[in-house]
Amino acid sequence: MGLELFNTFILLLLVVTALAALRVRDLITAAAVLGVYSFLMCLLWAEMGAVDVAFTEATVGAGISTVVLVATIFNLKRKSND
């Protein structure tokens, strides 16, 4: 039961962060929110026992892609138009 509650909480947070990343105007904030999304995915995978996948998600998804996204956004306009 506890595990089910934990899963439901993370899945709900996943939906919230995904929507937030779409709605936020500031692209740097959107990149940071996507990092949060990746860490939630990482938690979910670790909880399911796929520790190797969780590790990759934490390093590549939350670490490197956030940095690369931020680095790219610094060379663009910071605000999204839609």
């Binding site: 190797d52 590790f55 990759t56």
Partner: protein
Amino acid sequence: MKWISLIPVVGVGVLLLFAAQDFPEWGDPQSPASQSPVASHFINNTGVDTEVPNMVTAVLADYRGFDTMFETVVVFIAGIAVLAILKGSGGRRRGTRRAYEVEAEPDIIVTHTVRLMVPVIQIFAFYVLAHGHVSPGGGFQGGVVMGASFILVALAWDLDHALVRMSLPRCMAIAAAGIIIYAGIGFLSMFLGGEFLDYAELEKVLPVSREMARYHAMLGVEIGVGFTVTSIMFALYANLSTEGRLKGGL
């Protein structure tokens, strides 16, 4: 217009949720994936064949080592492509200062924290790489952690500071060396009488049994993967953050 596009999105979402009901229960031993002879073969034989406790690494680096080799090549090609597109393209903007490009001293708190953290991160990267076939981890993860430590240096000071330690030509040389290590182990086992990437044949040059030869060869190819991923991750960041000018920080 936005609201019209919502209709197919919701429709497809409902269809997907409907289809997902046919999935087996999570962790169900009777599910088709767990019942297939391939899965049970790996579960029963990995420890006997290769002496590697972490089945994921054994499948990744040994049973489907050919796949992983070309995954590494894909990472390498991606890095080369970014370099080819961005190198020199920033030249037309040279001289004009962007709004965020201000002269600023590196923050003393940030630099000192990074100074303390980078050695720990790098040793952890080596641990992840070298321990990858015993515990979760491996070449890709270790390489990314290692590359992240160089990116951290570039973020805390500026890119020039990191490029002194890891210049771009050196980066590409290390990336190529990684693939040569991987393919070299493959060819070595071929010359010793086996097939390409048939690590068990390495027992003829290593003073160990056939199983342990596969164990050690896996570490060898993981090191190759780690080399490539480390340098490509840093090269990606260095080029993307400066539009290929390789000067200054973010």
